[in-house]
């Protein structure tokens, strides 16, 4: 027994996560708090070791999408002009501006649409995968203001004003980020479906704790599942940090 056992087991995690899911079902206050980045029960539970992390600053061209006819514009002013001219009789309801990977997306969302649906099926950020849609597999993990969150447990309409980062922003596709490279070098994936969620959690961990121990990594991954059961390597590849 060379390693100290993790202090947060998956069973304990599930117990806590169940409370979160229950809270979210009753009302949206818990989720609202999570989106706002405040230290609440929700944030404590999902990312117990990182209530506050540095927000990654990313900038880029913004895209503004007309919620009525889906036309795209390069500025909010252009969109407003278009809207005023083309849709004078329509009320602008349920419109939010989401900041994803440094770009702003203004679009209409139903108040009950989960963030994961909007990211994937409306905006096309397909690195964000759906596993359980219940908040217990971690596959859809993204960074919200630098903190790993389950996108299936957040509502899109409550994420305005927060910096969302998905795996698409970590590398340019040719040169891997240090965390991605560590996963790659250690064969820390198999089918790859859960990998984006784990990588996002790892990014947050490494930023906060550049030299994590195995227990630190296990702790950070306690909300994640890998059905190929390759978590041994997923932990190993981060212990001691990444180059």
């Amino acid at each position: 027994m060379s390693e100290k056992k993790t202090t947060l087991s998956r069973r304990e995690f599930l117990k806590d996560a169940g409370l979160v899911v229950g809270g979210a079902t009753i009302g949206s206050a818990a989720i609202l708090s999570a989106c706002s980045g405040k230290t609440t029960t929700v944030t404590e539970t999902t990312t117990k070791n990182s209530t506050v992390t540095e927000t990654k600053s990313v900038t880029g061209a913004s895209k503004f999408i007309c919620p009525v006819d889906s036309k795209e514009f390069s500025s909010l002013a252009d969109l407003q002009s278009h809207y005023a001219a083309a849709h004078v009789d329509k009320a602008l309801e349920n419109v939010v501006t989401l900041t994803v990977n440094g770009n702003n997306y203004t679009l209409a969302v139903e108040p009950w649409w989960p963030l994961v649906y909007v990211l994937r099926d409306v905006l096309g950020f397909y690195s964000v995968k759906v596993g359980c849609d219940l908040g217990n597999c971690g596959t859809c993990t993204i960074l919200v203001d630098g903190t790993p969150k389950f996108a299936c447990l957040m509502l899109a309409c409550e994420c305005q004003g927060h910096e969302i980062v998905t795996m698409e922003a970590l590398s340019n596709g040719a040169v891997l980020s240090p965390v991605e490279q560590a996963f790659y070098d250690h064969d820390a994936y198999q089918c790859g479906y859960c990998t984006p969620g784990l990588v996002m959690a790892a990014e947050a961990l490494i930023k906060k704790n550049p030299k994590p121990t195995a227990a630190d990594v296990q702790y950070a991954f306690s909300g994640h599942l890998c059905f190929c059961a390759n978590m041994t390597k997923q932990v190993e590849c981060l212990v001691g940090g990444v180059d």
């Binding site: 027994m1 390693e3 056992k5 993790t6 947060l8 087991s9 998956r10 069973r11 995690f13 889906s70 139903e110 649409w113 649906y117 994937r120 099926d121 409306v122 905006l123 096309g124 397909y126 690195s127 995968k129 759906v130 596993g131 359980c132 849609d133 219940l134 217990n136 597999c137 998905t166 795996m167 698409e168 970590l170 590398s171 596709g173 891997l176 991605e180 490279q181 996963f183 790659y184 064969d187 994936y189 198999q190 089918c191 790859g192 479906y193 990998t195 984006p196 296990q218 991954f221 994640h224 599942l225 890998c226 059905f227 190929c228 059961a229 390759n230 978590m231 041994t232 390597k233 932990v235």
Partner: protein
Amino acid sequence: MPYDAAKAKEFDKKTIKRSVVDNPAVHDKSGKWIMTGRAEFAADHFTGHKYFGVAKLATVMHAKIKSVDFSEALKIPGVIDVVTVDEVPTWSDHVLWYGKEVAGVIADNWYTAIRATEAIKVEYDVLPAMFDPDVAIAEDGKDGTANVGLIDGTNLHQRTAVVRGGGAAEGFKNVDWDFTFEYPWTTSYAHNELEAHQSIGWWIGDEAYLYTGTQDPYSTRTSVAPQFGLPAHKCHVYSRFNCGGFGGKTDDWGSYAALAMSKKVGGYPVLFKNTRYSNVLTRQRSFSIKSKIRLGGTKDGKITALDAVFYANEGANTAAPVGDCIFGLQKTWNIPHADIKCIGVLTNAPKRYYWRDVADPPGGYNTESALEKCAYKLGMNPLDFRLKNVNPCDVQPPAAEGGWYGAHPWGSFVIKELLEATAEWSDYRKKFHLPATKKVKDIYPNEFKEYADWYHGIALTAHLDSHGGSFAAARGGMLKANADGTFQVITGSARGTAGGTTVCCTTVAEVLGARDEDVLLGDWANTDTGLNPGVQASSSHTISISSAFYNAAMEMKYKMTVMALNNAAMKKVGATKDDLEFANSTVYFHKGKADEVAIPFASLGLGTNTAASAGGADGTGSSVQNDLQKLLGQRAGGAWKSKFNEKGEEYIKKGDKVLANGQSGACLELAIDPETGVTEFLNYFLVVDTGCTMFKQGALREIGAATELIHSQGYYFGDVYDEETGADISTIYTEAQFPTYMDMDFSTHHFADYQSEDASGTFGCHGIAEPSLTNFCTVALATFNAIGVWVDCHKGGFTPDRVLEALDRGIGADYKALMEA
């Protein structure tokens, strides 16, 4: 740490032979797509331009649908249309289990579709149901008894039957001992993939298109096209990345629904997608086994007679692949007189399929348990008992008597060696004791202090695994040469795990002498561009695909040879084809130092070349297989040469079924606290025959992963049903409430790859992860060794509550009863 690294290293040197074709520098060819979030799974297409389909599921076990009322569902904003069971191939108005599809909704987003299914009202004519397999057996054939409705008049059908040496009756005429062991039903598992099954279907004119989660796009096309009245070439299937290293990789379940729904809405793309719960209910799951095993033999511990019957709960699947549950018992052990049967039992439960592996974990659990108890009763060390009865490699009973591992020479068989290697590595003989007689401190006076007063248990098994199948069918491979000297491998197989597609590339690199980085994975898993490679789920298919690429690479090499000989520099030095050497993506001629010429592939002008070829044992592939084997055998220092006869082309005859079985040895040491029932692993030694795989690190990765999984399963899995309704009420799968590495200390797990010298492991090893699964039974056996009471796995895993329940009978109680019986 009880694990002695120096000793392990010594062990490595002694028993592990590294293959020259095993190159740890080989990288997973599709890994960078995954690591950058650009791996496209089935649902990752048509952003903003698709509808969403969801199925409504039955809430009864057995019924005929009387009526379906869609009116309320259609009123919900966002609902586009609905489908009935008549509109979706494979759906039916005959409900056979709780959770079968009874209707479907198409909506503009997934959540609306789910909501709408809840508004559909279904009326049923409920029929008598058979949920309990014991009831299905007991009541079968009686007048007036209901049956499941899949086979007229019965719920039972014989799957496999092996009679050897005149049968069991002949053997039991002359035995010194005669023991019978019975095991209740093992649990049923539903290890569905993390990606709830999803497919996008769309139509352009009368041609169907699919993105779907399958490892075998060609089989999907073959099964889907006729259902829609299409010729194969009008059905296009794409499946590059595919979720689920452990299950659900070849299922066409969502494809029919996606295409039918798309057709209903004029061909617009429809993503048909399961919820987690519907995935659990609708997808095929593993079958459970119960058995009665009677063994007899001589005083010195030789088993001479066997009479065994295994029942397999198939659920509502007449085609459940349950027959191989007898595989390990049939083929691992050398028993001259035997009757072994497997009988399928149909029930109104979800369709049964694999238990991750083909069949052996539950069958092996029963078999190994019987052997262990037999050894105790005979007063023998269980390892010695196994060594006495294991089938040695050179024994080949006639095929007419079932053979031991097929009537062909490619079967892998080093079980005896694995038993010995595992025993040596783990110091099994030194640590073994009778049940409930040792505490941890007795074995480890200076270690594991925290468990000093817990009971120590140990068990060692080795078992032949049925995973592998055959590669009797021809497989296709297409290779394209690029102008820059690189090569593109185009295979029709999806990437479920890292091994298959990578091994195809490695084969090409080996044959052409190309650098690994110069062989690229091209447009793969696409029925429009690749050739049919078959499913890439098993090592055997990986072998046949690789042989196809071997053929293609040989053709390419011929073309390159011609080009090189036409090169001016080569002409000047008078090079002949026999003088050329292909290495490091360069053609070398070095007759003498003065004449040395090196031509990079890039300057050969390869850009227009393609090569496509078939491999496998039923055509020209057979001789090519042997050529490749010879090549690699020579590279391996001739170690394999003895495995081949002089006439390689006759070695595998046309139509021969070739198996590539997996095998491993495992020794588990555990500690059990009798006060709380808590179990901790102290050491787990796993020695796996990886053959001479080209992608060793991929194989080892899978083996480690499978071990992690199997221990999670062994401890915690087990489905829970409401037997009144047939509903799955377990949260283990729907909420994934099982532990992972986060809960388990895998520093106690030690792996070694034992590389056997047989031929079946060249490209993918003997079943990639499966061999490690058959040793799941060590958990049961070591638990029995620790506390002397039996914790059957028929009610679930080896959780503390179940250990405590067994301990209510008293420490050592079952062992005492066993010995007195």
